[in-house]
């Protein structure tokens, strides 16, 4: 069947099977060139192997929960949305969550995803106690910080290339309500936005929506949004009796691929300007529900269709703290000068990260999306070069187009990862279009 990531590019014809039992899964893995696929939310070609893509969504059982430690043991195909559905009513929430809840635990580990609390808590890795990984011959190895530690480290952020993630133990966070106290700080330019991040390193959550179309003195103007889990007393009165029960958001499916011109530099610029003005009016503190705060885009089913049939590209890099101000300034100048405005752009301060191949590092990350237009494609090498110049690196879960040299140049760990895979005899067994493109 034809398969693509969330960005609808690239599309590839792939053999996809969805086993139900470990024995079936082992048979598929034995055929080689296998890649496990979760809910297909990575943007590019990370979860596509033309010969052997394995849909893991039938492995969706929760196996145990320990309320004393908050540890949930579950199969890799369990979605974050299910975890929230089952455990928020009991006062628990994922310790780390990206901007969508429609991802599997296996995918969260493979990409070692990050959330709005990275500056304090680190990446998804922080909540993972152990992982069961199926190797080339169907053997299952449990790995943790103490046991098979190298497998554990490479599996986090290893994009499914260390084996099939089968089960895991993750710790949840105890929360007092399903609501978030959000503080909105409008920042008129990049420096102000970064100052706001630095001044709020103690906030549990922080993220900025950034207007990539703004120019000149307003370059990088942003809405910095801080968040704290709200106490039951802060919950809006009509929900106070059941503080974990937030209003359900209607899921509005985006029905069709939008025509190619729907998102053009003009409409994107207009949207961004309106979004900023509207956000600036909401300056200050208010109480918002968890779904709207963490997952605004999940309310629009298939929002990726907004970009039309050609699909879109994500660009996400991180630039280390000491060069971040200059690097971000240059990235935004290049984008602004190109006239290629990104529809949804996010800036975030990362905290320290110590792991084998995960994306984050202490500094600033910028996430952008562009329709797959000629002009946007032409802009990518320029953004790659600026990132490299400033000692930055790239997020593989978003990547669909990076040349192997750029990855190698940005991240010496890629070579080490490929070597480790070779030494362990994994290279032929586990592969994706992305791993082949990037020589992993």
């Amino acid at each position: 069947m034809q398969l693509s990531g969330w960005g609808n590019f690239p599309k590839a014809e792939a053999r996809v099977r969805a086993p139900r039992k470990e024995a079936e899964l082992a048979d598929h893995v034995a055929e080689g060139s296998a890649i496990a696929r979760g809910n297909g939310r990575s943007y590019g070609d990370s979860a596509i192997s033309p010969r052997n893509t394995i849909d893991m969504r039938h492995f969706d059982r929760m196996l145990s929960f320990n309320p004393a430690t908050g540890q949930l043991v579950a199969e890799a195909g369990v979605m974050l949305a299910d975890v929230i559905d089952c455990f928020l009513p009991r006062g628990w929430f994922p310790m780390v969550t990206p901007g969508t809840k429609l991802i599997t635990l296996g995918g969260a580990i493979a990409a070692d995803v990050h959330g709005k609390n990275h500056h304090l808590d680190g990446s998804f890795r922080a909540c993972v106690d152990w992982i069961d990984v199926m190797g080339p011959r169907g053997e299952v190895t449990r790995c943790s910080r103490d046991e098979n530690a190298d497998l554990f480290e490479w599996t986090l952020g290893g994009m499914g290339l260390t084996g099939v993630i089968l089960r895991c133990a993750v710790r949840l966070r105890a929360v007092k309500s399903g609501w978030i106290r959000q503080e909105m700080i409008p920042a008129d330019n990049l420096a102000a936005a970064m100052d706001a991040f630095e001044a709020n390193m103690g906030a549990t959550y922080s993220v900025a929506w950034i207007d990539c179309a703004a120019k000149g003195d307003h370059l990088g103007r942003s809405l910095v949004m801080l968040g704290e889990h709200a106490d039951p007393g802060e919950v809006p009165p009509r929900y106070r009796a059941t503080p974990f029960k937030a209003p359900r958001h209607r899921n509005i499916p985006f029905p069709i691929n939008a025509p190619g011109f729907a998102l053009n530099p003009l409409t994107v610029r207009a949207f961004n300007a309106a979004y900023y003005r509207n956000g600036a009016r909401q300056k200050g503190t208010r109480i918002v529900d968890w779904d709207g705060y963490f997952y605004p885009l999940d309310a629009i089913g298939n929002w990726n269709r907004l970009y039309g049939r050609r699909g879109f590209m994500q660009f996400q890099c991180v630039i280390p703290q000491d060069t971040a101000r200059e690097g971000m300034q240059r990235l935004l100048s290049a984008i602004s000068a190109s006239g290629q405005a990104s529809f949804l752009s996010v800036l975030k301060r990362f905290g320290p990260q110590d792991s084998a191949f995960s994306f984050p590092m202490a500094g600033y990350t910028l996430a952008l999306d562009f329709p797959r237009s000629k002009a946007a494609i032409a802009l990518m090498p320029e953004l790659d070069a600026i990132t490299l110049d400033h000692g930055g690196r790239f997020y593989l879960a978003k990547d669909s187009r990076m040349p192997a040299e750029i990855l190698a140049g940005s991240d010496p760990r890629a070579e080490a990862f490929a070597t480790w895979r070779r030494d362990r005899g994994l290279s032929a067994s586990f592969a994706s279009l992305q791993s082949e493109r990037l020589n992993l």
């Binding site: 069947m1 996809v16 099977r17 969805a18 086993p19 139900r20 849909d55 039938h58 969706d60 059982r61 929760m62 196996l63 145990s64 929960f65 949930l72 579950a74 199969e75 299910d82 089952c86």
Partner: protein
């Protein structure tokens, strides 16, 4: 105390989704299937997700002589019993291999009918309960592409209809479920029309609602009622020449 929901043929995608849907409503669950020890993870899943009690029971739908004993051995008589027992088989094989055809007939008609019949007697004695039989639109009219399966489902549909009629005055309700196409791995390689194809979770939600509202016969996606009405209305002289 809430009485449990018994899921017969608990290994299928529809059965798993149905167990979850009832457990989410706070019902204890009895999972019954062959080699039921393989469902330990599903038991753990229902307990972890929904905090309900789950028990496992070995059940072979084709061992009809053992059905009375199976029901006797249940720790408690369930409030609701759902039969998700069934076997699609390969039509081509069913045409040439009588043993295979018999297995399809027994798995889709004899087994499910006998066990629901046994449960019906117990429910009638208690004067309460709901029986749910998952039949199929394939039973609405025999077609060349799957008439062995379809005929067995037609038998099951008729059985459920009669059972409903018999039990109507005894406080026991019978629901007939006709799912239509369902998106399972077995159909993943087929190009099923999206508007006609339900997810297992949709089937499960429809079953829970049908039980709550005491519906008699449900098509999971309402469009199937129309599709099958059209198929049934085609005169036989024309129908026999079609390939639907």
């Amino acid at each position: 105390m809430t009485l449990p929901v018994l899921i017969l043929g608990a290994r299928s995608d529809i059965a798993r989704a149905t167990a979850r849907a009832f457990a989410a409503g706070g019902h204890p669950i009895q999972l019954a299937a062959r080699h039921v020890e393989g469902l330990e993870a599903d038991k753990a899943d229902l307990e972890t997700r929904y905090g309900v009690e789950v028990t496992l029971h070995d059940f072979d739908a084709l061992d009809v002589a053992g059905h009375e004993g199976f029901v006797d051995a249940l720790p408690s008589l369930p409030a609701i019993a759902v039969s998700a027992v069934g076997l699609m088989g390969e039509q081509a094989e069913n045409e040439t291999d009588p043993a295979k055809a018999v297995t399809v007939m027994r798995s889709n008609f004899e087994g499910p009918a006998v066990i629901l019949g046994v449960l019906a007697d117990r429910f009638a004695m208690r004067r309460s309960g709901t029986l749910v039989g998952i039949s199929s639109v394939a039973g609405d009219r025999g077609r060349a592409s799957n008439y062995v399966y379809g005929a067995a489902k037609a038998g099951f549909t008729a059985f459920l209809s009669g059972l409903r009629n018999r039990l109507a005055k005894q406080g026991v309700h019978v629901v007939t479920v006709k799912p239509g196409f369902v998106n399972t791995t077995m159909t993943a390689h087929l190009d099923l029309p999206a508007r006609l194809t339900a997810e297992p979770q949709e089937v499960a939600a429809a079953i829970v609602k049908a039980v709550e509202k005491s519906r008699n016969i449900i098509y999971v996606r309402p469009i199937w009622r129309i599709v099958m009405a059209v198929i049934k209305a085609i005169p036989e002289a024309i129908f026999k020449k079609t390939s639907i």
